[in-house]
């Protein structure tokens, strides 16, 4: 029963994510792209929930769908396009890009299907928050410190770049 629900949910949200993604790359106007990106990101958050990564899901909404999307919209509005320029690159470039993307996709899918995955006995479903917190301050303390450093640098750099004058 719940399996069915989970499967249905997966297909729904996966479809939504893919639609969102395709929308992002195919919409004619930037804001439409943003709208689709919102859809994609939210669906990915839902996918995280299905993967029993609720903490990550919440963070995804908070950071991606919340902050980053907002920044993107902000940037869109700060950089108005005075003349309507063609949103897509030259046909040749599009084809080339499509070829590479398709090839990579084929490659990845093939690998995924062929590889004999050493699956765990039972999928890992258990509350994550505390364990993640523990790990972040012990095993992953250096990446953690590094990430904070990156954030700081990003902050300063962004300030410096976007400053008037």
């Amino acid at each position: 029963m719940t399996e069915v629900v989970a499967a249905g949910a997966f297909y729904v949200f996966a479809l939504a994510a893919l639609v969102g993604g395709l929308g992002v790359v195919s919409a004619r106007h930037v804001v439409r792209s943003a709208l689709f990106l919102m859809l994609a990101l939210s669906s990915v958050a839902a996918i995280y929930v299905l993967l029993s990564a609720d903490f990550v899901a919440a963070v995804q909404i908070l950071i991606y769908t919340g902050a980053i999307m907002l920044l993107l919209l902000f940037a869109i509005m700060l950089t108005p396009q005075q003349v309507e320029l063609p949103p897509f690159a030259s046909a040749g470039q599009q084809v080339a890009a499509g070829v590479v993307a398709a090839a990579l996709l084929a490659l990845l899918v093939g690998t995924v299907l062929v590889t004999p995955w050493p699956l765990a006995a039972t999928p890992l479903d258990r509350p994550t928050t505390e364990a993640i917190g523990q790990a972040m301050l012990t095993t992953f303390v250096f990446p953690f410190e590094l990430a904070s450093l990156v954030l700081l640098v990003g902050l300063v750099g962004a300030l410096l770049l976007a400053r008037e004058d």
């Binding site: 080339a96 890009a97 090839a103 990579l104 490659l107 690998t111 062929v114 004999p116 095993t139």
Partner: protein, 652 residues
Amino acid sequence: MDLLALALVVLLAPFGAFLFNAFVAQRTWALAGLSTILGVGISFLASLLVFAAVQGGARLDVSWPWLTIAAGQARAVEVGLQVDPLTAVMLLVVSGVSLFVQIYSWGYLHERTFDAHGHPHVHRDPGFARYYTWMALFTASMLGLVLANGFLALYVCWELVGLCSYLLIGFWYQKPEAALAAKKAFLTTRLGDCGFLIGLLYLWAQTGTFTFSQLEPRVAALAPEAATLAALLVFCGAVGKSAQFPLHVWLPDAMEGPTPVSALIHAATMVAAGVYLVARTMFLFEHASAAMLVVALIGGFTAFFAATMGLVNTDIKRVLAYSTISQLGYMMLGLGVGAVGAGIFHLFTHAWFKALLFLTAGNVIHGAGTQDLRAMGGLARRLPWTFAAMLAAALALAGLPPLSGFWSKDAIIAAVAHYQPPAAWGGLAGAAMGLLMFFALATVLLTAFYITRLLCLAFGGAWRGVPQVYPHVEEAPAGMLWPVLLLAVPTVLAGFWGAPFVSAAASFATFVEGHEVHEAFAPGLAALSVALALAGIGLAWALYGAGWLQPAAVTRLAGPLYRWAVNKWGFDDLYNALVGRGAVGLAGAAAWFDRGVIDGVVNGVAQGTVALGRAARAIQTGQVQTYAWVVFGGLVIVAVAILLPVVLGFRV
């Protein structure tokens, strides 16, 4: 009160003062000054208690885990405190000198300037609070450096004192020279610190710990090459901090800072940190005899040539700066020949008398309104107390018994004499011995010479500055005089602790090294060094004391003598001219080589590159997306090339 608590008090009192000044007392100058003086005072008292406890045999070595990586305690990073005789002595020096300097600075920051009519004007420096804030931070971090029980904490404090030095050299950042000097000092020392950092990371990679007590056994297990490499890298840091030969250039410029700063940071404590570092990690150097020799040679050479530079400088503070470099060289020399006790002993005495020299120099500058020796003279009558104090310090520096400098310097010379290098080097060892001995003794002469010259130029003779100023030149206020006179006490007495007539059991070296040390006191050597010192003094006296006589009278009475004196007066110019011409010639040669050879090569390379670039630019569209496309296309191709066999393997 247990040792740990005491140590924490020592460390946190000045730091608290710093926090208070930084966040509360920035607007209220008096409060800032008082808090720093109070903090340092407390820490000084605590240091005395610590010292007493250590004399009573107490020791301390505690570590706290800072980062624990789950791969096991083997890679745990710890920070901690350590108190042993060496630390205790350093604590005494740092907090003591710092206390004197803090009190002194109060008066010094009320600067005296002379207007066109030679009338003095006193005004408080606008950066008063800032000054005491950084001073507190410096004291705290210097104490932390001494208390650290591992490389990590030590390195952090090491950089902190570097920062404070930068901030305080550039205290008058409106002056471009000051700003430049600060930058120069920071960058030069950083050069050495890079080596230091690499060294301690290398050690960590090799032994998996930063803590000295744990390092000691593990280092013993290290391969000699590794030990030598680590020792040399660590020594790089010491060279930078203690302004040893290749990296000595920053210290003279650092004199742009306020004089008390020079006294505390650039004479007594921070520059001695390098010496302390080598002493603290002696267990490492003992496993690297080559590194030891390098230390000794660099130390000796620095001592000698810094002294020669001190001979000719006309800026009172710069002369002292060169003297500091030279004395630090002595300490390194002592450590290099394995006499930790002697080296640290010299550090100990030097801290007092050099700080005293700088503070008295500060009084002179404060009174005369200039740093230029050529514009001084005849100040002995105006600044009697200052003169007395400076005289004591100068004689201590020159190494006349029974003043402190004599005993410590002599201990080092004796150690050099008794130093037998590893037999492995054979003839080289003998050469090294001779060289070191020469450095040690020649420097005695030069030291005595330049310090006497300084005294004569500043205090002897007639006033050579702006005439209207002289009547207003007066002794420094009490706030600047008492610290000086108090400092004179250790300057005179500190030496007896290590004097030969003290029983070996109670001697300084024994205390520091922790085991009975019999410094073979060589009366012959002592006599020789004293004789050299006297010779230097006499020479300088003859040269610069001669200025006392009225030139006219001299010409009338003893023409040849006068002419001889005149020629000698021209000594500096001659010396400078010689050096200058030599330098110019050298520069010319270098310039030719540069233009002819190096530029040729460089240009050739450049043109080659340009041509290559022209060839290559065709494929550079400047389109980020093109580049990305190439990257991913390449990725796909490579992946296919790698994976295809595997896939087939599965298929079959």
